[in-house]
Symmetry: C2
Subunit: 269 residues, 2 copies
């Protein structure tokens, strides 16, 4: 399959049910881990009328997880919502290196300041690196290390391997958030969708030419059929957990179960 | 497919990595939820040299989750390991009814005492029920309500729907635990197994005649290849998360991802 861009849509109400900050943190952690395991590029937190602080919290935690360990303290101010980030499992993805950099490595870095020579960047090495381009400061960007000697010289670049996800908080409802994202194929997941076992061939066929796949998830208070209310934007409406033994499947569970099934489809031989 | 019995094997070390009791509780909760979503009949906690208290904790939490709400206080003494059970999501499976029983319903009940007439059973109704058979007391068993009037009369019976899982703590290592369970087909899940996308037809074929499927999971400290050390008991060695974007997939994530893929295979049309 030729999917180049993989987006998932998560409701801001994801964490609204639980009052326990530690459990909320862990629950968002599951979403972040799932996204990284299955090579998701973008997570859109859509507005389903939850308290806007929920969306902010979800995106803070997701961004924290996606940020390499060596930049976290520099990027995330201490605040009480991030009190329990210590329990988050690490992503252990290629953009979170645990060893000192060598020449040719790719690294995410924080742009610190512009000088006459270019931009000074913190890439978590024993000294700051220099990029000869003028970049906007205080951003995390991706670089390749072209020289590592007395000076570290880097240039903006990304490797071919999975390189983490971006998180977007959308103030729009789901329908408008999807329109703004412009995916080729939109999959909605619902207990009321067609069982994946019945439409497997159809799903494979529809994904064949897709470049940008989006998968939507409902929330703890309402499923996607309620949220979209018949608005025509969905290409495939699927139940990815046919014959479920429980009355409901929670959002964080549905995301893992669904992306696992789509991983099989997207990598079919 | 004709699978009648579905068992998963979980290492006692599942929760050993985390020192936070609340997170440990939630993590086991994910396993219990996953088992119920995918209609697992039995969870075997095998001995992989973790502290035996871990296995006891895991089985306590799993049993707690599987026990109908109306029996929990009667069956589980207050103890500090169960301090955080309040954060566990309910299974919402058919054996956890939320309404008052009517005639013809199936219910799990706790056998309280034997009388001349039979056995007195607590089925969570407004009065105790009578089963005319002599049953051993202090056990949770399944019943059908044959009469519900001034007296509630029940008889031992189970419905056709998913009716929860049993949890077994095995003191044996994985190999001996599998031998004691006698499954037809044993599936080991490992990053080093064949990608599911390459052997999908073979897996489907091997499961066709199976009655008792067992799926094995490794732990946070060692994968199944290390644990089994070449012992010949596995029929299918599969990587259910091909192309993973993270270095490792955690046990609780692997269980959900794997059972989701097998749900697709087991219910294929």
């Amino acid at each position: 399959m030729g999917i180049k861009h993989y987006t998932i849509f998560i409701p801001a109400s994801l964490t609204a049910e639980s009052k326990d900050l530690k459990i909320k943190t862990y629950k968002v952690g599951l979403i972040g881990r799932t996204a990284a395991i299955f090579n998701v590029d973008k997570i859109v937190v859509y507005n389903d009328d939850a308290d806007p602080r929920e969306a902010k919290f979800i995106s803070d935690i997701l961004n924290y997880m996606d940020t390499p360990q060596y930049l976290r303290k520099k990027v995330f101010p201490i605040k009480k919502e991030l009190k329990h980030v210590g329990i988050l499992p690490p992503l252990r993805s290629p953009h979170h290196p645990t060893e000192m950099p060598v020449q040719g490595d790719y690294r995410q870095g924080l742009t610190l300041k512009r000088t006459k020579k270019g931009t000074v960047v913190d890439i978590g090495a024993d000294k700051l690196a220099l990029c000869k381009e003028k970049l906007s400061v205080n951003k995390i960007l991706s670089f390749k290390i072209t020289k590592l000697a007395k000076e570290i010289i880097i240039e903006p670049d990304k490797p071919e391997v999975y390189w983490g996800y971006d998180t977007i908080v959308s103030n729009k409802n789901l329908y408008d958030s999807i329109r703004a994202t412009k995916p080729d194929v939109v999959v909605s997941t619902s207990r009321f969708g067609e069982p994946i076992t019945s439409i497997l061939n159809e799903v494979e066929h529809k994904l064949k030419k897709a470049k940008h796949l989006a998968i939507l998830f409902g929330g703890p208070y309402s499923g996607l059929h309620d949220i979209l209310q018949g608005q025509k934007i969905v290409d495939i409406d699927v139940n990815t957990v046919p014959k479920q033994g429980t009355k409901t499947v929670r959002t964080e569970e549905a995301v893992l179960a669904t992306l696992s099934v789509f991983n099989l489809i997207l990598n079919a031989e």
